[in-house]
Symmetry: C2
Amino acid sequence: MSTLDGAIQFVRDNKDRFLQEYKELLAIPSISTLSEHNGDVQRTAQWLADELTRHNIENVEIIPTPGHPVVYGESLHVPDKPTVLVYGHYDVQPVDPLDEWDSDPFGGEVRGDYIYARGASDMKGQLFTHLKALEALARQGTLPVNLKYMLEGEEEIGSPNLAAFVEENKERLACDVVLNCDAGIHAPDTPAITYSLRGLAYFELKIQCAKKDLHSGLFGGSVLNPIHVLSEIIAGLHDENGQVTLPGFYDKVRPLDDEQRELMKAVPHSDDEWMEMAGTKALHGEAGYSTPERVGARPALDINGIWGGFTGEGAKTVLPARAYAKLSARLVADQDPAAIKDQLSTYLQAHIPKGVDWELHQHSSGPGSTMDHKSSYMQSAIAAHETVFNKTPIFKREGGSVPVVGLLQQALGVDSIMLGFALPDDGIHGPNERQYLPNIYRGMEVYIHFLLGL
Amino acid sequence: MSTLDGAIQFVRDNKDRFLQEYKELLAIPSISTLSEHNGDVQRTAQWLADELTRHNIENVEIIPTPGHPVVYGESLHVPDKPTVLVYGHYDVQPVDPLDEWDSDPFGGEVRGDYIYARGASDMKGQLFTHLKALEALARQGTLPVNLKYMLEGEEEIGSPNLAAFVEENKERLACDVVLNCDAGIHAPDTPAITYSLRGLAYFELKIQCAKKDLHSGLFGGSVLNPIHVLSEIIAGLHDENGQVTLPGFYDKVRPLDDEQRELMKAVPHSDDEWMEMAGTKALHGEAGYSTPERVGARPALDINGIWGGFTGEGAKTVLPARAYAKLSARLVADQDPAAIKDQLSTYLQAHIPKGVDWELHQHSSGPGSTMDHKSSYMQSAIAAHETVFNKTPIFKREGGSVPVVGLLQQALGVDSIMLGFALPDDGIHGPNERQYLPNIYRGMEVYIHFLLGL
């Protein structure tokens, strides 16, 4: 039996065991943003290191950073083949609001064709799929390409220590191409390859009008209310055309030409299905752009959270001292995340009334990016999809951010191939996150074909 | 020794014991809005019933309501004297944000001339002061006037069951005048009597754009964000002159004439001191009105709380499904609280975009009120202040709400005398609430003089 046939057969023979191991990985609540889960994040790193070691990966190390560690490993035994740096992250988002989950977020309950858990799709599911392809290839003898692994534990908090890690380990990470498994396809039977990603600039804003909370009867009508101030600021961030008002925000955005618009139109899309998927009764966005354009080729600014004053049960007549918001811009290629903070500061300086204190804190940032969709690596990915799904994949612009793509392009000078099997309606970051199980197994075969095709 | 001299001497001889009992009352966390404290609220009712019974009040009863109980009691032995209905509330506000308290909110720590605790000023302190005046009079023999007590446990949640209670107990509560102890003076040595109060209409608003939280990368820029919608709504509630934009909001507000403005100017006020007291660096309000006018004679609308999306530590790239706000209007005499809900609903109907679900829930309401400041009861209150403080009290309009005043005026046809010893900078409803201790003892003497003077 050829290596290919042997690996494919191995995958098909071990589905039940794989499901159990997948659940085992999902059961560890590796929430990187909550410090009480630091031990769980560490435990997940160990789980992955053990897995890599079992599958012929050498020099496996859990490398500390000032935050959560990076799992590294390598196998470099085929000098005439390219070296692929596999990227993944093993941390997950928080699970609140917990009461909206229909099953334990770390229970990995299977209902129909789906498995439900935090990280099932984003991205323990994708990482696991790749690791089982690796196992299948390792069981056939020598691995067919040179592999390096860089698995981080801080993607969901914006990878604050990854840039420094990559800078310090440039030589160790040197490669021909990156295989980034943090990716998805278009629909259960519609393979897709993402060639464009939005960047992110995430901030926290604090508005303070008084030293302490006040009685709304005694003071109401005579002093500024920080929630009013914050609301005015937020309301002023968009104009009546749905455009962001920050001065200079669109300066670097490439206008969409007809050719690009045509390419985007080739991607199947229906506004009704989009609403169905989002669970909304209306769509809304920048005037003059379609929904796929608004999400894939235009920047956006959203408030991700807001809080201030009394938020408990019942009524409390308080005039709060402070109000807070988390806000983030989704950026397209060529927009500079650093410039966004300046634009935001300028806007706040101009619009927050005198006598009001404010602080703007940047949580994380990364540029958007667009990749060469005609490279030989991309050809192998296309062929792998065609073989397994029996369909040519569509080329997608993604609204989400994978900042590591821009980072590795900049530091190592290499493109990333986005190869993963999440679906747009997996509900990642929200309650009842899920993964379509049949594609976990098809994905293993795609990874096998892709690596053997290089 | 006369009854007066005996009672005054009794107060002066028992200061230390009184302080211990005051702390005992403050130690019970009778937070009416949090159901986990229901037992504490009940315990406080029992504490008061025992106290009344010890001081010659008869037929003492803890009368259940659908919410927290009313403590009732009476002493009716002097037919030629008026009957005074004493009103107070024994519940308190929540204590969050807890980390801004410098000592245990239920510890009653004394620092300098102040005692710090939730309820120290609003209004366990005032109620306690009255009860010790009652004790001092009871120890002299027959009580000098006819007394009835109605002490409720739901004032801080808007007295949802008091109107029905009063309606059902009209005969039992019949009286010549109400003594409302939920009141304050102007400054430690400046007695004051409040003759006007603002009303309250308190609401909770929910805005929902999607069925569940979404990923801000995948959907950002293509759907409505409920925090944006809510912010626009809030920002639109005031115009550039600081006026509330709700249609009809000012229709019933009595314009301030020169005579009323002059009366208000007699009350000592400094904008600098007001800012110092509020802990703000600026003042803000309706154009064309002074700070005392904005607080005492004009309505106001404030957001008391706001929440939505991710509010935890770090960054979560969520596009929330829902956002919430608590908002309340402070009303002046003649404004109808029921009309405010209609005005608000009309405004929301007109301004919330299509496809967005919203719900407006009313928590509580009560009208504003203005009292006759020339009655014989008021004369006794003035004289009591003059004797104890050696100063004529000033007449104040209060920005806060004491809805029971309007309720009892309506149901029993009687005015309320507002007699209490809180100070404007006691920090009620906020962290580090305090009470100026010397006025607890002076207050006992004022209550004694007031009751003996009727």
